[in-house]
Structure formats: structure tokens, C-alpha cells
Amino acid sequence: MRILGIGRALPAQAVSNAQLEQLLDTSDEWIRTRTGIRERRIMREETVTGLALGAAREALADAGLHGRDLDMIIATTALGDDLFPSIACLVQQELEADCPCVDLHAACTGFIYALDTADAYIKSGKARNVLIISAEGLSRVSDWTDRGTCVLFGDGAGAAVVGLGEGLLSIRLAAQTGRALLYSAAPAQSCPFTPQNGDGAWGIRMQGQEVFRFAVSSSARDLQAAADMAGLSIADADWVLLHQANMRILQSVRQRLGIDAARMPTNIHRLGNTSSASVPMLLYDLYHSGLLQPGHILALSAFGAGMTSGACLIRWDKPAPLNLRAPAETLFFA
């Protein structure tokens, strides 16, 4: 499997920490020092499906393919605009694709899980070209009275078209049950035979310290395992892209694995935590910065609710796009 094209779509509205200070008992300094986030994008008129479609169209164009060339669409999301149908089905017609469509839910690790699924379909000969879309609208899941969590999340979508090739060097997935650490309950329902269904209200609930420990330890472990599987070391990776959950997580993983800061780009300051969309959107920014060159080794790592985690190594073979849409100076480094 190799990545043939990448796309991204963001809501137009950027919401700064200063704007959140007007709504919540929080401060720009508190948010920045604990998370690295300065602003995030929040949907107004946009929809998760619309963002998914925008990212998908750009990825297909970057791959030089049409929707008709797709053999499968896999979307990952914590929650689409509807509980069903799936986002993958909703974008299919717009893309003029005629192929199986499915949404895959592995929380923030969704993109890595989808890469593994696509790889399995391609390796088995069941598919040649697979579109992966990671589209998230966590602003609509957040509890906007909880200052500890709502400041963290942003909306956006990243997409990748993958096809036949030798780019994926290794991949490792993991999961362990751990609802109490990080969850969002289904809203209360009205079934007359069930007094209380679900926890009653939207909202992301998180045990911050425990999630931090899980994220750092699982990311370091998965990256090391993926490197071992590829017969490489983490030092061989030109770029290490982590799920953009929190700058402090990035820094802790970087220190534990002895990774140079210059090899760990981040866009969390501009986009916040966008769940499964964060890895493909960071890959998009790196690709469109012109820094990512053919032959480079990429290490991707994500972790999230479940608890799920995963990492992979990819040998990149696409030249930088002619029209760079994310100047290098917009990337920070962990």
C-alpha cells in the first residue's frame, strides 16, 4: 500500500483562546501552557459530511483519480451529522463512486486503523484504490460548560487515497478497555421500557492525568514496535507525526524516544485536538510545506478513547505539490 493523494478541509471560523475567555472561566495562558493550543476551527454552517467531502475531493485530485476509480470508502469519525447513515455512504454519491462504504470507529486512532484495514483489502486483492476520510466535529460533542475539555477540541477533516505499492513498511494496532478514562455518553433516550438509557447528556469526560499517561506510554511503545517490525529505529524516521492531542504529550514522547524536535512537526497551536482527523491533517500540512520529500520515512502514531492506539512507518514517494498550501512557517515543532 502507498499513499496516492492527500486532502484536507477546515471550517472557516477560527476561535482563539481569547474568545473562550469571554465564555468560560479560563485563560489563554492556562490553555497554552497545558496544551499548546492557541486557536481551533469550529463549524458554523459547515457539516462533518461537507468537510469530509471537501477533504476527499482534494485527496482524489492529488492522486489524479476520480471517484469512479475507488473500490472502497472508509470514513472515521467520533460522530457524523447523523447517527446513520455513515459519512462514507453520504459522500459516495457526490464523488460518483460505486463501491462499498463504511465508517470505522476507533476514536482518535481511526486513521491508523483505517490505513490497516485498507492495506488488508489491497493486499488481499479485494481493492486497488481505497479512500480514507477522517472527519470530525467534536465541537458538537463537547460540553461547553466544562472548561477542562471544551477548550481542547476543534473540527476538521483529512483524507488520503491509498493504492497498490510498497509504502507501508509496518503497522501496529492495540486496544484495551478503558471507558472511565475517556468517553462521551449517548444522550438520554425516550424508550418507555427503559428508565435511564445512557448517561443523559452530551459531553466529553476525561481523566486528564490517566489519559496523558496512556497516550505517552502507548505512543512510545507503538512507535518502537512499528520501527522494530520495519527493521528500522525511530532515529531513521525523518518525520514523526503524532495525534495532535496535547503539546505536552508530544514533548514527553519526543523526550522518551530521543527524537529531535525538528523531526516532530505540530499544528496543534492552530487546530487543537481534532481526534482522528489530526494525523492526516498534519500529514497534509507537512506535505504542503514542501519539507516532505520522496524517500523520507514517516512515523505516524495515534491514541485515544477505547483505549485504542496504533503506529505505522511509511516510506513516502510523492514529490512535494507544486502549489504549496501550508507554508513551512505555519508548522511548529514539539
Binding site: 492525568q209 499517561r213 505517552v216 496535547n246 505536552r248
Partner: protein, 74 residues
């Protein structure tokens, strides 16, 4: 070096303060360590002492962390 001394040294290093000013009653907050600093310190201590530390039993003081490390190491 006993567990308290090792932990006080690790805390002082992270907080940029003097280890001999740290007592079992010192609160992490007094050392200007936020919750993620404490989580990271605990991960380091778990590696150092080869133990698993249950953060839910900590009361925010250095002494509670030392007790946890000593208990977990038994």
C-alpha cells in the same frame, strides 16, 4: 538513597527548586507543578522503581507519592 530522597531529587529537578526544601507535607502545587507535570513524574518513577502507581490514592502531597511507591514496591 531511600525512596523519599530519590523522589525529592526528581521533583526538585523537574520543579527547578532545592531538594532539601521538600518535605513529605510539600504539595505538588507549591512546587509549581501542574497535573501533567505530576503525571509525567509518576511515569518516570514507575520506570525507576519498576512499580505501578495508582494516582487516585494521591492527596497532592509528596508524602502520599512516597507511600505509594514504597507500598507498590513491596
Amino acid at each position: 538513597m531511600d525512596a523519599f530522597s530519590k523522589i525529592a531529587t526528581a521533583l526538585a529537578e523537574r520543579a527547578g527548586s532545592a531538594a532539601d526544601a521538600i518535605t513529605p507535607d510539600t504539595k505538588f502545587q507549591e512546587l509549581s507543578l501542574d497535573s501533567l507535570d505530576v503525571a509525567e513524574l509518576i511515569m518516570d518513577l514507575e520506570d525507576t522503581f519498576s512499580v505501578t502507581i495508582d494516582m487516585s490514592t494521591l492527596d497532592g502531597t509528596v508524602g502520599s507519592l512516597v507511600r505509594q511507591v514504597e507500598e507498590a514496591g513491596k
